[in-house]
Subunit: 291 residues, 4 copies
């Protein structure tokens, strides 16, 4: 398939390499052009504008946040201008539900198509094609794009006809992740002040009730009080919790644990955690216990 | 080993049968005597008092809460009276940290020994020897009792020399479990009000980030709004969250998610959930969203 | 002084009448023109556009929320166009800190002046000149406008040179008010379930520690479970709590009680409270207690 | 009236002096006898035991907490032993609802009478007879004791026939007080990080919506970051919030703001606030904002 990729951070680059490896004809665009070099060497065409990267059958956006998406959508050099009729924009970024809804409408008005397909997984999973893809939108269109998802993901979950539903699911997943960190943080603060070796507690949990990689990974980081380097930066986690709160507010759903997380993210950043990993959310629990 | 079992609820009965099956010489005691019949048929000796059930090398207590333990400990017919010098009381119940600390002292003063060995697992896991045992206390003594743990559990985790540490770990595990239910409840309320099929969300979560049995089991119950029968009754979960809050207060650790859970347990019970399953904690999130 | 008033809801109308009564030359503008009739009879000039209402020495805006302000500011018929150089826009509405900051900049760029002067008090206080005015901006300019404030308020508090500071203070005051209602609601739920007459509790509080009109007014409404008519509508209170949370987020300040209020506002509205009074925030506490 | 006073801390001493001044015949008891000297000089009889102090028509207890009350009640030298049939024990201490209920029963069984009459006011109000008395119990009995209340208080509020109701009201008042401090703390943290002089905010609030002494007193302390000396010590406020939570739990009432206060009290004490004033609750809000 002829496919464009806009956004070559660690996630987008991994995805682009996987698509090239799977035999797709890949065009890439990145605002900072230097990041395109490795992909050019690997066989990608380098586009000068988002519009040029959108000239194929599909264009994938993989950017940091709403403003970054909006910046590549509009204007004469934007995706909406470059994408041909009936071609598809696949938004893989972790964006808000509201933006995903606006993109659905904008592409429909332009006679184009739109899928939301946010992913779970860190950059190494992107590079090795082990992402989990959460796809929302027209079922036949998702089927049509399945080869793209197969190149980057180990599994694709379809959520339903409404693209933004996939964003609700993705954001809620990140909420569960941040909540898990908060809870581990509270429990591990109790371990530390009780004199119990935190890693033992993590071993029990991940050896019994919670034998999930997320518990193991973050449990170990929190037990070791290792808050950097930032595999998934605290401000990004904060953005996602705010996004899930915004989506829930729009639907009339109170989410008190998400509200509590929001407060702790603000506190973590106010106390100097701007550049730390998501695991540093647990530092708030520790500091609040006088540790 | 000659071992007594006090408390023949579903958990205690399962444990007793496993110990008989493993070849141990088992004496049982239960306040309501009718529950002892099946075990007598299986080969157990039925004791008339807690003291009589404590006459062997070890006595295991498996009761509902602190008052139930305290009721079998004291007096001329109690465990403290029946247990010989250097023999061991193994407390497998989910009791408070404070009671476990008092038992440690009481047995030491009586020249007896004490292990805390609370377990993770539902009654079916007890019956099939698939519990997870969390053991706290003297390492050599735990080794000595390992055949008992092996008969009932698939794995034993040792926490350290202080028996009550095992209770801190057990209660914290139950805190994580209740917190998971609350968070799933909040997210699933959002799914329902967004028009998304809740089970799809559960499938994504348990197929990606949270491939743990606890997420699957409770995710399905909450998605289906199935709040009974009570596999693990709401009031028991409430007791455990109060116990973890009490332990944390004693150590100077705020646990805001646990506080929030406490409020939601109170609300769930006040709104008629007294006899429901732990999954009904999620009903509070749904009702608060107007569902 | 020649002064325009934009926005003739109950607050704005009361202010306009007071200014006329004090001898000022008043021009009024309202999107729905029918509301201008009473003021025309009272001697006001009725303007056709916001710009026309801004042709005097000062223009006061008193509108429901940010979008309403933004709607009258821009375009060829807007305030920015109509206000002459060095003339002043006085924003009395309860708007966000961010909008107040943008207005400060916009007027400065246009060579105009800007004061934020939000008020405390209900419509009857506006009509009788008993408002409390919280003024932020240039001290000399506030002095110059003091006759306007004196016409509508019983007292003017100056906060400092930065206009938006007055909005921070006003929003924080509304936060304290909503928090008071929440806390009274929790306590009164306890009274009701304890069998204690709620009004007795209110009498004790307002007769001892909290002899403030706000406690008396809302205490009586909550004790009587009187949630309508909406003197101050629930959705407006919700807006203010969101605004204070946004201001606090921008400054890196967690406000956990405000977060909790936000959740309870969402719940109150989701459970059918859209048209109720702010006092209905207390209904959430009651319902969560099974009342 | 012949009246005993047990507990001569700053509150109890003030009350005793007031009763002597009003012409009552006062007998005092205090565990630490040195505190009785000033009262002996003022005309009080000094008793050697709680029982001896309970030999008159009425005995008032004014002690720090539940254990202190329980310590003077029981045994051959205790109040229950010393009080004659039909004589009355007036509990003015801020005790739990549960203890007040137990005292009601105990005195009834002993053929004695019991009133709960906790008070609002600091030691200086006790010394000057300016307390607010909240009286629960038999109306005729309260009437009979009114001369005692008049000697120490500026006003007596009667709550109803059930003595413990007065304790519910008193504890709820202290909850409102701690909640006010928390909310002022959050708002003042926002002021400080916004660059606004905190005292200006306090002046606006106490000059408009919240013209109550409690707001003024604590607002000034928090604005000035003055957390000592401890007029009302943080651990005492913590005790009261725990007591109101216990009362609410017993009645099935979630009190989420009280839960949040409990967490912040734990944090304040864990971070070194053990000896500080109640105003130091606001330090948690400040520290959580990185101040």
């Amino acid at each position: 398939m002829e496919v464009g990729i806009i956004g070559l951070g660690r996630m987008g680059s991994g995805i682009a390499h996987r698509l090239i490896g799977a035999g797709h004809k890949v065009t890439v665009y990145n605002r900072t052009r230097s990041r395109t070099e490795a992909l050019r060497s690997a066989g990608a065409i380098v586009a000068d504008t988002p519009a040029a990267a959108s000239a194929g059958e599909a264009v994938i956006t993989m950017l940091a946040d709403d403003p970054a998406i909006e910046a590549v959508m509009a204007g004469p050099e934007g995706v909406l201008q470059g994408l041909a009729k009936d071609r598809v924009h696949i938004s893989m970024s972790t964006i808000t539900v509201a933006l995903s809804e606006r993109l659905t409408v904008a592409h429909r008005h332009a006679g184009q198509r739109y899928l939301a397909a946010p992913v779970f997984g860190r950059p190494d999973a992107a590079a090795s094609g082990k992402l989990f893809v959460v796809a929302g939108g027209d079922a036949a269109l998702i089927d049509h794009c399945q080869p793209l998802f197969d190149a980057v993901g180990q599994r694709t979950f379809t959520i339903g006809d409404t693209p933004a539903w996939a964003n609700v699911v993705k954001l809620s997943g990140n909420f569960l992740l941040a909540a898990m960190i908060e809870c581990l943080g509270e429990a591990i603060a109790l371990m530390r002040k009780s004199g119990i070796e935190p890693q033992r507690f993590v071993d029990v949990m991940t050896g019994s009730l919670f034998a999930a990689p997320a518990y193991r990974t973050y449990g170990e980081l929190i037990a070791a009080q290792q808050y950097e380097p930032a595999g998934f930066a605290l401000p990004l986690g904060f953005k996602d919790v705010r996004s899930v709160l915004a989506a829930a507010e729009a639907k009339g759903v109170p989410m008190p644990v998400a509200s509590l997380l929001r407060d702790h993210f603000i506190s973590a950043i106010a106390r100097g955690g701007q550049t730390l990993d998501l695991s540093a959310l647990a530092r708030v629990a520790a500091e609040n216990a006088g540790l």
